[in-house]
Symmetry: C2
C-alpha cells in the first residue's frame, strides 16, 4: 500500500481517476493528503467531500516562492507520502523541493515526451503535424518535463483535430495512464537505470 | 496510378514491401526506377530479378557530391516519377535536389518524430527511456528528418528491449506504414497546411 500526496490547482480529473481506481480495488494506494495552491480548486471541494485531508496553501498568501514551498513541504512531511503526485499542479517546483523527493514526484504531460515539452503540448503537436501523440507519466527532475518516464500511451491525431479535440482524446488516456503508472510503482520493484525506469 | 522512383543503399526491405503491395493490388502505383548508390546493394539484385529499371550510381565513381547527384537527377528526369521514395538511401540530399522534388520526396525514419531525429534513432529511444516509439513517413525538406509528416505508427518499448529488438519491432511497422503513406498519396487528395499533411 503506497501513500500518495496529491498536488493540484484545478478540478483534478487525474486525482478523481486515482481515487476511483483505489475505491474500485484496482490500485493498492492510500491518498494521505490533497494540497492545492488555489482556494477555488474544484479538486479541493471534491477531496473534502471524499473525506481526504485537504489543504489549501494559497501561493498569493506567501511573501515568495520559497515561503510557499516551505509550507507545502511541511504538510508533506506530516503526511509522509511515498510519492508526491502532481495532478494539474500549476506551480514550478524548486530544485530543493525536487531533491527532497528525488524520483518520488510524478507528473503527467499531454504529449509523448521528449516531443512537445512545456505549455500547450497539444497545440504544439497539432502545429507540428504529428499523426500520433499521447501522454507521458514521468518522474520530475530539474528539467522541463524531462525526468525518467514511467508510462506512455499513444493516441492518433486525426486530420480534423484541433487543440480541443486532441486534448480530449489525450485526457481519456491520461486517467488510465496515471493509474497504471502508480500501480507499477506500488509494486516497488523497479530500478532507474540512467533515464530508464525498469520494472521487474 | 502514381509513378515511384526508389532510392536505396542496402537490401531495401521497404522497397520489397512496396513491391509486394503493388503486386497484391493493395497499392495503385508503378515503380519506374530503382537507383542505388552502392553496387552491392541487395535491393538492386532484387529489382533486377523483378524486372525493374535498376541503376547503380556509385558515389565513389564521381568527383564530388554534386556530380553524383546530377547523374541521379538525370535518371529521375528520364523516369519521370511522381514521388522519389527513399528506402534506406544513405546519402544526404542537397538543397537543390530537394527543391527539384519539393514535397515529392518521401522518407521513413525509425522513431516518432520529432523525437530522435538523426542516426541511431532506436538507440536514442532506448537511452531516453521512452515507453512508446515507432516510425514516421515524412516528406523530405532541408532539415534533419524534419519535413511534413504523412504517417506515423507507434510500437511499445519493453523493459527487456535493446536497440536490436526495438529495431526489429519498429521495422515490422515500417513496411505497412510506408505502403499506407503511398496509398494515401496515390489518392492525390491532400494538402500541406504549414507542417500538416491533411487528406480529404
Amino acid at each position: 500500500m503506497i501513500r500518495l500526496a496529491i498536488l493540484l490547482s484545478g478540478r483534478g480529473s487525474n486525482f478523481a481517476a486515482i481515487h476511483d481506481a483505489i475505491s474500485a480495488g484496482k490500485l493498492e494506494a492510500e491518498i494521505v493528503a490533497v494540497i492545492s495552491n488555489r482556494p477555488d480548486a474544484g479538486g479541493i471541494a471534491r477531496s473534502l467531500e471524499l473525506g481526504y485531508a485537504a489543504h489549501v496553501v494559497d501561493h498569493k498568501a506567501f511573501a515568495n516562492r520559497a515561503a510557499h514551498e516551505a509550507e507545502v513541504l511541511r504538510l508533506l512531511r506530516d503526511a509522509n507520502p511515498d510519492f508526491v503526485v502532481l495532478a494539474g499542479y500549476m506551480r514550478l517546483l524548486s530544485a530543493s523541493f525536487i531533491e527532497a523527493y528525488r524520483n518520488r514526484i510524478t507528473n503527467i504531460h499531454p504529449s509523448l515526451l521528449p516531443s512537445f515539452p512545456g505549455v500547450d503540448a497539444q497545440a504544439q503537436a497539432i502545429a507540428h503535424g504529428v499523426k500520433v501523440s499521447g501522454c507521458t507519466v514521468h518522474f520530475v527532475d530539474e528539467g522541463l518535463d524531462a525526468g525518467p518516464i514511467i508510462v506512455q500511451r499513444a493516441v492518433p491525431v486525426l486530420d480534423g483535430d484541433d487543440e480541443s479535440s486532441l486534448s480530449a482524446r489525450i485526457l481519456e488516456q491520461e486517467h488510465g495512464a496515471y493509474v497504471e503508472a502508480l500501480q507499477k510503482l506500488s509494486g516497488r520493484r523497479y530500478t532507474i537505470d540512467g533515464r530508464r525506469v525498469l520494472f521487474s
